[in-house]
Amino acid sequence: MRRRTFLTTSGALIVSLSASRSAGPLELLAQAPSPYPDPDFHQLDSWIVIHENNTATFYVGKTDCGQGTGTAFRQMMADELDIDYDKTACVMGSTDVTVDQGGSGGSDAIQTDGWPMRRVAAEARRVLLEMGSTKLGVPVEALTVSSAVISVKADPGKRVSYGELIGGKKFHVALTGSNIDATTGTAKVKPVQDLKIVGQSPKRYDIPAKVDGTQQWAVDVKLPGMVHARNVKPPVAGATLVSIDESSVRNLPGFVKVVSKGNYVAVVCEREEQAIDAAKTLQVNWKKPATAPFPASPELHKYMRAATPTSSSTPAVIGNPDAAFGAAAKVVEAEYDVPFQGHTAFAPAHATADPSNGQLTIYSNDMKSYGMRNGVATFLKLPRESVRVIWREGPQGYGRTAADDAGFEAAYLAKELNRPVRVQWMRNEETAWDTKAPAFACTLRGALDAQGNLTAFDYLARACDYNHVGYNEPDTVLIAQLMGSRPARPAAGSAATPGEMYAIANRRMAMQVVSLPLAFETPLRTGNLRDPNGPQSTFASESFIDELAAAAQVDAVEFRLKLLTASTADDSGFKRARSVAVVKAAAEKFGWDTRPSPRSNQSGNVVTGRGIAYAFRGQTVVAEIAEVEVNRTTGHVWVKRLVCAHDCGLVINPEGLRRTIEGGLLHSLSRALHEEVQFDAEKVTSVDWLTHPSLTHLDTPATIDVVLVNGDPNPRRSDLPPYGAGETVCKPLLAAVGNAIFDATGVRLRRVPFRDARVLAALKTGSTASL
């Protein structure tokens, strides 16, 4: 009886949740007998449990990467169920306890997965009202419900609570829907106007444990008999293992085993520090590859522009670009480059696997825990039913843990040793070998007529993205590659075109992908990073729009608004009207004075300027303005103020949203100012926080203004949907900062990051070509 097993397990978790606010004592997580169930999303009981004390626990198949989505899920479901927010709890992301909503990714937690959550909570309310009707002897229409108590409208003394009706018992109600996103009962969700908890800002329930030290993170898992493993990576990309001298570590304290297969090597010891020492000490002979795996990083973009593409999109053409360029009064051309930028997660990859009883339990912060379960089962040729993933919180997700190497490694090592194994990467390993956002080389042309109107736009993006790593794929995770796995069809990868609503009569938008010489077993492997291609493509396009505005001697906001309003064509999401609204809202909040860039007549070492950029992603639209100080003597850039006007439709938790937006802005600011993966012709040389700098407290803007616009033509419409809020923010910021530097200095920076030396060199030469 799988259902019974599930509810028993759930019950245990609930006790610990209410007791400690946190994830439950580890003794509760001891291996339960398999088969591990797949909670049935067509059963209401899989989603919602009502307890005898009139509280509720929600079980959802998502993971929280740090944006407080768990709090938002509780708000949405509590609202539909008509129960107080603080009488609810939320359990996420463990494969045998929660339905498979795929975990996290794509900023879809609220936009996509929130709908089945709301519908099942509405269905539970409907069922409870029917039960209340029977119990109280009046029709459902005569009842009202508040704070999980049903009462008779005409006789409020007659009442019954949810807990009294069903506490500790099961609903036994089947749901319908062809897939989990479509899961529904017969009840309808409430119109927006009736939502009371949605739109409020309850504090995140997970924060107290994170500030008092009681949070149980994935790194904290400790099991009886557990040993510690560390990897030994090839010293240069593409090296092959020749031999291992195990005697070099055999006599070290706590030594357990050297495990290797193909080019994968790990050392296992009793204690963590012993494993770290042993991995450093182990003597391994590697053979360098015959040819260079990649060009050195200063040569990357030259290489990318000269390479033959591995794939090309059919260009999207509107009008007649060639004729328009031929008739132009002025043609502007520019190349924009973005280097590889890494996740460089705050803590390196980690996981613990327990092989007890011939089963496998993986404790992981994998944001797509369900995918890890399936991937590990295939990778190790285990029955899927004997593998489960227990999700625990970890350092920021943003895509890295969707290709979770450590979980596969822990599982492999645990099976090899038949003991629980905790593995963690070291800092140099993570910074060098994590997945990278693809490098971009963009080529743009724009045609202006004699009146300064943009008549044609030609955009070509080349992404170095061949063999882009997928989500927990058993044949593309790094351990599989190092063991020799080569999928028959490596992922084609992708470039991107910008997300904007500019009405330009003649356009050509083209995308190409190129490959580095070494496509497998390389530290320059690409994966999804917080809007995988958006920051790169938007840096090019929104910087270039600014160049065109300057060439036309028109204010940057005015130039954009003219392009946005040059057509009245709309789309289903009112994206044009909402684009206009966020650009206007950002300019208004900033106090934008209308004038062309660059700003003139500045003297002294420190000059200031402002820049705007805008983008949409899906249905979410944002406009961002950066105000910068540039030190002309040192080249140092400080972004002293940021404004973000943001429209993601229905807002669930405004204060939570503001913090998510602030984090996205500053993460992107780090990519604008600091982040670049550097490498020589055989290895990545960015290996720690000195060689791969990140934003610090010193860079933090003095002021960040977030304006939640909600520019829908009818923001009170009853079916206003929420759109994905997180990643759109990351798209325009690089361009906004570059545009502000141009406004301040008159120098156009066409390559990120805007490190001091690069800015200073550009100020001296007046350009950034080939820097």
Binding site: R204, D212, R271, E272, A347, Q396, L669, L695, T696, H697
Partner: protein, 153 residues
Amino acid sequence: MSTIALKVNGATHTVNVEPSTPLLYVLRNDLDLHGPKFGCGLGQCGACTVIINGVATRSCVTPVSTVRSEVTTLEGLAVGGKLHPVQQAWIDEQVPQCGFCQNGQIMTAKALLDRNPHPTDQQIREGMARTLCRCMTYYRVQAAIKRAAGERA
């Protein structure tokens, strides 16, 4: 292996480890104090910060045998179940995103405010400069420090 005595958060513990073992692993793996985290092992990020003699100290590069004074970890800040004002400010300001670095932020801020109860904005920036956050919660961290400083006034 050596037997080493440590006073942590008011209690004395004895552990049997190599003297060169970084304090971090003793705290996390022997004493089950999970506030301090591994982030880099190089003293660059601050995830492992503890307070020794009033100084925010990177436990990942501190050999356990060199520790002569009491160690305070994140778990030791609250007194009698009441959160330290810095921790409370963190909740009031809703600082964390993922929260993984926040041990370093909170412990560094606590030591900063202990030696300078009313820091200027620039002193906060400089005092926190080497404590990294990859969710980039810096804006709210700085606001929370100011809030905690204000509540001490």
